[in-house]
Structures are given as C-alpha cells and as structure tokens.
C-alpha cells in the first residue's frame, strides 16, 4: 500500500489484506507460536470489522490494529487454557543464519522490550508513533529501546549495529 491515505476508502477486504502480514508477524512475535498467532490475527480482524466505522484514517487503522494485536496477544497468555497447557516449540526456518540468529535473539527478549524493538526496527515506527500507539510516554519507549538493544548486544555478542 503506497498511499496509506487512501486506506480509508478501501474496502474491508483490501484493508485486511494490506495489514494482514503486519498483524500476523506482530502476533507471532508476541505469542511465539503460529497457532496462537493465527487465532490472534483472526480475532483482531473480526474486531476490526466490528469497529470499522470508528476508524477514521489509515494511520488510525494501523495504530488501532497494532494496539488490538498486542492486547489480544496478552489475552492469550491470560487464558486459562494457556495456563494449563504447554505450547509446542516451533522452529522457524530462515534461509540465512544471520536472519535466524537475529530473529531468535529478539524472541528471547521480554515482551515489553520485544514489542518496541519489533515496532521500531520492523515497522519503522518512530518513538513518538510507538508511544502514541502503545499509550505510553516517549521516554518510556526510549528506555525500553535502550534496554532491549543492550540485551540484544549481549545475546548477539556485539556483531550487529542497531541503527
């Protein structure tokens, strides 16, 4: 989607397809499990259809989807079914060892650091955008980004720059 300003004029199906990968990957980053990520994705888009009229702009839609995805991912862990079961460990395969190393290094981070790292480095969101999206102060986002990077440096043995 090149022009996100046109998102508001798109149909629901077009909006879902445009944001599907973003929601799915964010859910997978939060839940670390494909099945749970699929459940979260489906729940997010059902809620999106129900609340479609409340969303006024493309930025609003994206921020809303991110916020709801994080909330739904948290609700998965709050589910009693999740507390009584142990999810199967899934090994995602990547074509290069660097991709795999970086991806699983992020997966080792605590959730609150993993979220801001994912939004900052994958979604290319600024600190202000992340703060607005997550309803927290920019300073909090910065501190979490800093601490997350420090953890990744320790995990990755300092082989990557975090620009």
């Amino acid at each position: 989607m090149t022009d996100k300003g046109l998102c508001i004029e798109m149909t629901d199906e077009e909006i879902i397809r445009a944001h599907f990968d973003m929601v799915y990957r964010l859910a997978l980053s939060q839940t670390k499990n494909r099945a749970n990520a699929e459940d979260v994705t489906q729940e997010v888009f059902l809620r999106f259809v129900e609340n479609r009229k409340k969303l006024t702009s493309a930025e609003h839609i994206k921020a809303w989807l991110i916020r709801v995805t994080i909330n739904c991912s948290k609700s998965v862990f709050m589910n009693s079914w999740f507390k009584k079961t142990v999810p199967l460990t899934e090994e995602l395969t990547f074509d290069t060892p660097e991709k795999s190393e970086v991806y699983y290094a992020v997966q080792t981070l605590p959730s609150k650091y993993r979220t801001v790292i994912h939004l900052f480095y994958y979604e290319d969101m600024s600190v202000e955008e992340i703060s607005r999206c997550l309803s927290m102060k920019p300073s909090t986002v910065k501190s979490r980004l800093f601490r997350g990077r420090e953890m990744l440096r320790n995990e990755l043995k300092g082989g990557y720059d975090f620009v």
């Binding site: 599907f20 259809v49 991709k99």
Partner: protein, 337 residues
C-alpha cells in the same frame, strides 16, 4: 545491519493463503456486535413488559367491571295457594312473620335485584326435594326451616329428636300435606343419612309430584332474607361433603333456579343446591342457603378443584367444582350477583 536482518527474517514469514482467505471470509459474514443484538431484543422485551403490565393492571378492573355489570340474583317462588299473594322472604328462624316491606325495598332496587328468566330444569323422574323440609313447612309461609329457632338449637345439629320437636311445635299442615308428613316421618331415619333419593321416592309415592309445585304458588316473587335472620351460618369447609350441608343447619332454597353453565347439564337438584356435570366428567355442586351480610366471592383453586363461597342478596352460596374450569364457576357466580 540488525534492522536489515530482522526485516528479512520477518519478511520470510508468510501466513498461509488459505488462512488469509478464511479470515476474510469470516470477517465478511461476521455477526453484529452483541450490543446491537441486545438493543434489538431490548425493544421487544420492553414491548412485552408493557403488554404484560397492561394486562395485569387491567385484569382486576375487567373482573370488577364484569362483576358489577352482572345481574343480581332473582329467585322465583311459586306459592302453593292458588292465586295467593307473594309470601314473605324465608328465614332461618321459625318465626313465620312476613316482611313485605323489606321485600319491596329490595325488589325495588333495580340494580341489586333483577328478575331471573331462568327456569329450574324439570326432571321427569323425580323432583328430588328433601321431604324433611316440606314436612315442617308452615302453610302460607315460604320459610321451610328444618330446625327450631337458633335460640333453642343454635348449634344446628340435626337429629331425629330435634325433628320430632319441630313437628310437635309446627302448625297443623293442610290436608294434602298431611300425607307427606306421615310418610316422611316414617322414613326419617333414612333421611338423616341421605335424604335425597328417599325424598324423591316419597314424593312420587304420595302422588304429590314436585314438592315445589305443591308448596309454592304460581306467582313469582323476589326473595329477600329477613332482617331478623341469624348470621350464625355454619361455616362450610372445603373438604366438607355436600350431603352434610343439606342437613338441618341450612335453610334450603327451593326455587333458586340456576341455569346450567355452558356445556353442563343438571344431574341433581336438591332443595338447596344443584349438581351440574359436563361430558368430560367435571362436576359442579352448588349449595344455596340463607346467609347474612353480603360477602365477596372467595375462590380457591387447588389440584383441579375449585371452591367458591360468597353471600349475595342474603343467599349464601357454596360452590364445589371438581375438574371444572373457572369460567363455568364464574358463570354460576355471576348469576347470583
């Protein structure tokens, strides 16, 4: 470098296309939010509440209006004496004093008493009048008490000794009634148990025909209880048998004509009551006595039986219905009110 590798790693993660299509399909046919559905049902529920509330509020008023609009009870009496003037209202006391003024007062109130156009069902087999009552009847007096004054026998107990006393103190009956008296006196012990059938047989044997036609004249009259009538009516419990009610503590109403309720037919007409039955086997027993002050109907329904008691225009009416519907009972009640 980190950004590049992390982006490439995430870009290589692709959701299944079938899953994407299924999510889109589910999103298209998704149901409306719960709040919207509740809103729809809320409107229906509010309408239902309004209807039910209105019905509950209006039902007592309709019942009251129906009661107020009903006809008062009127009982036709036929005097035995041909061409005799209407006699006074009967009373539970033995005093044969007449009270024409009281009758006129009551009958003059068009709202409270209306002439009944109901005729008692004529039965060809037996008139089924209680002979124990006709034997003590004072000529020219409609009152046919089976007991003495309440001052002498307030308990209302019926026994043969009591009957003998009454017979001794009773005035000399007419010639045509002496036959009945002698016959009934001999059959007195059996009448104590169940006088209904015996009464019919005795009347038939004596050739008197219907006791009502013998005793009462052809003129109609509205019955009004005497003002001096005692109000110590024996309370009838729900479980009390009707045969007990027809005994000495009641003042039978011979001419209290009650039409059969819709769908019912009369299977028995005792001096102070009737028994109706329908094809489904439902039985309604109506017992009429002279009572005191008017009382509103007290109706109880339990296990398919309906019990109603009320006093209207000086008549105490007790209704025992078994297997009958409330409409039939109310139809009978409305005939008295």
């Amino acid at each position: 470098m980190f950004r590049k590798y992390y982006k490439d790693a995430n870009d290589s993660i692709k959701p299944d296309e079938d899953f994407v299509n299924s999510v889109i399909r589910d999103a298209k046919k998704h149901k409306p939010p719960l709040r919207a559905r509740y809103t729809q049902y809320a409107a229906v529920a509010a309408a239902a509440v309004v209807v039910v509330t209105g019905a509950v509020t209006a039902f007592p008023l309709l019942q009251k209006a129906q009661r107020d609009g009903g006809e008062g009870i009127v009982i036709e009496e036929r005097a035995t004496d041909n061409g005799a003037a209407p006699t006074a209202a009967p009373s539970r006391t033995a005093a044969p004093t007449t009270a024409p003024a009281a009758v006129n007062e009551k009958s003059g109130d068009a709202q409270n008493s209306v002439q009944s156009s109901i005729q008692k069902p004529e039965r060809a087999d037996a008139p089924s009048r209680n002979t124990s009552e006709s034997s003590y009847r004072v000529p020219g007096n409609v009152s046919r008490d089976t007991e003495e004054s309440p001052s002498t026998e307030p308990s209302g107990e019926y026994n043969d000794e009591h009957k003998e006393d009454i017979q001794e103190t009773a005035p000399e009956p007419k010639a045509d009634e002496q036959t009945e008296t002698s016959d009934e006196t001999t059959d007195a012990p059996t009448e104590t148990g169940n006088g209904e059938n015996d009464a019919g047989e005795n009347n038939g044997a004596s050739g008197g025909g219907s006791s009502a036609s013998l005793i009462l004249g052809e003129t109609d009259e509205i019955i009004k209880p005497k003002n001096t009538a005692p109000e110590d009516m024996t309370p009838y419990s729900k479980k009390q048998d009707l045969s007990d009610m027809s005994a000495a503590d009641t003042t039978p109403i011979d001419d209290a004509d009650i039409p059969c309720p819709d769908g019912y037919y009369c299977i028995d007409a005792s001096p102070n009551g009737y028994t109706f039955k329908n094809d489904d086997g439902a039985v309604i027993s109506v017992t009429i006595n002279y009572g005191g002050a008017d009382r509103e109907p007290y109706i109880t329904e339990e296990d398919g039986s309906i019990y109603a008691v009320f006093t209207s225009f000086g008549l105490s009416v007790t209704i025992n219905a078994y297997g009958a519907d409330m409409a039939a009972v109310e139809e009978i009640i409305n005939q008295f009110r």
